[in-house]
């Protein structure tokens, strides 16, 4: 059992610290300009963080205790492929879900 006092401490501390992380640059820097080389790096934040976050989840899903799982691999490939071809978020999500359940049904 999780101790309620510990739980509430974690909820509040994690919330406050997460807010400070989110507020760090927009809050402190504001509209002071950043040097070009910094901006050049920041342009790639999204494409550098999200793939790194998702790759281990696709190859070693926690839900299967880290064992590679064919339906999840099919779903990931379908999402990525349709997303690249159509540039349409809804189509990519639909393809991922369809790939996941179809592969689960067939395998």
């Amino acid at each position: 059992m999780i101790d309620p006092a510990e739980l509430w401490f974690i909820i509040i501390a994690l919330g406050v610290c997460s807010f400070l992380l989110r507020f760090s640059f927009t809050g402190l820097l504001g509209d002071r300009g950043l040097p070009d080389w910094v901006l050049r790096h920041l342009r790639y934040t999204a494409v550098a963080i999200l793939p790194g976050l998702v790759a281990p989840l696709v190859l070693w899903p926690p839900a299967t205790d880290g064992t590679p799982d064919a339906p999840r691999l099919v779903a990931a490939a379908a999402t990525l492929l349709v997303g690249l071809l159509t540039r349409n978020v809804l189509a990519a999500i639909a393809a991922g879900a369809a790939g996941l359940y179809l592969a689960m049904y067939l395998i």
């Binding site: 999780i2 807010f19 809050g27 080389w37 793939p51 790194g52 990931a76 990525l80 999500i93 991922g96």
Partner: protein
């Protein structure tokens, strides 16, 4: 330059975010299920989602508390998962840094992977968008998604064990991120950043406290910036 119309841009943000409800819903429900299995009541689960609003960190914290890890380690590990939010903040600064402080605070609270990724993709395609419109677009995305995330965690907590395993709710998160990333891979530097990030993340996945993600993220950003620098240098006479 298009005339500023924050109200219309707000609704455009809402509309752009709608497809993500399909994946935010299942993922939020999964947090509710896992939370109730860990013995949390509805109020605790909902407070978690409202105060923290960061799925990955919430799962990490819950998992470690169930494993009875010391409180400070729980906090440090979950915060490490959230360090990427500071990088999002830095990346939003050139676009939103000039907004009034209360708007920046509101934006900070609502910075999640999806609102950040959608907004930055839009700002890059329309850099001339007026400041008020950028703020409105961001808040449109955020306000379409977050109340839904809260409601989904409560629904998951209520349904609990009734949700069968074969639904594979866990995979809503990877599908979300892949659907966000794919349309962003427009140029060679973007592709380079993504490829380096994936390679690093897989190679050093064993680093504790999810620190591997930060290394992978920084490596990806450096790769993207370097490829862009070489391209511009070659383009000059």
């Amino acid at each position: 330059m298009p005339p500023s119309s924050p109200k219309r841009t707000f609704w455009r943000g809402v509309r752009d975010a709608l497809p993500f409800l399909l994946v935010v819903g299942p993922f939020g429900m999964l947090f509710g299920v896992v939370g109730s299995e860990a013995g949390l009541n509805i109020l605790e689960i909902l407070s978690f989602s409202i105060v923290v609003i960061a799925g990955a960190a919430q799962f990490t914290a819950l998992q470690l508390m169930v494993e009875d890890v010391p409180t400070l380690i729980v906090l440090a590990s979950s915060l490490a998962v959230n360090l990427r939010l500071a990088m999002y903040s830095a990346s939003l600064t050139p676009h939103l840094g000039a907004a009034p402080i209360w708007q920046r605070a509101l934006i900070a609270y609502f910075t999640i992977d999806q609102s950040y990724a959608m907004a930055i993709a839009r700002f890059e395609r329309e850099p001339e968008m007026p400041l008020a419109d950028k703020v409105a677009f961001f808040l449109g995305c955020a306000l379409a998604l977050t109340p839904f995330w809260w409601a989904a965690t409560v629904l998951g907590a209520l349904l609990g064990q009734a949700i069968p395993d074969w639904l594979a709710l866990d995979f809503a998160l990877p599908i979300t991120f892949l659907a966000l990333i794919a349309p962003m891979l427009r140029t060679l530097p973007h592709v380079a950043a993504a490829v380096v990030s994936v390679a690093l993340a897989l190679a050093i996945a064993s680093l504790p406290y999810n620190l591997g993600l930060l290394v992978a993220g920084l490596g990806g950003m450096m790769a993207g910036a370097e490829v862009e620098r070489r391209q511009t240098r070659r383009a000059k006479p």
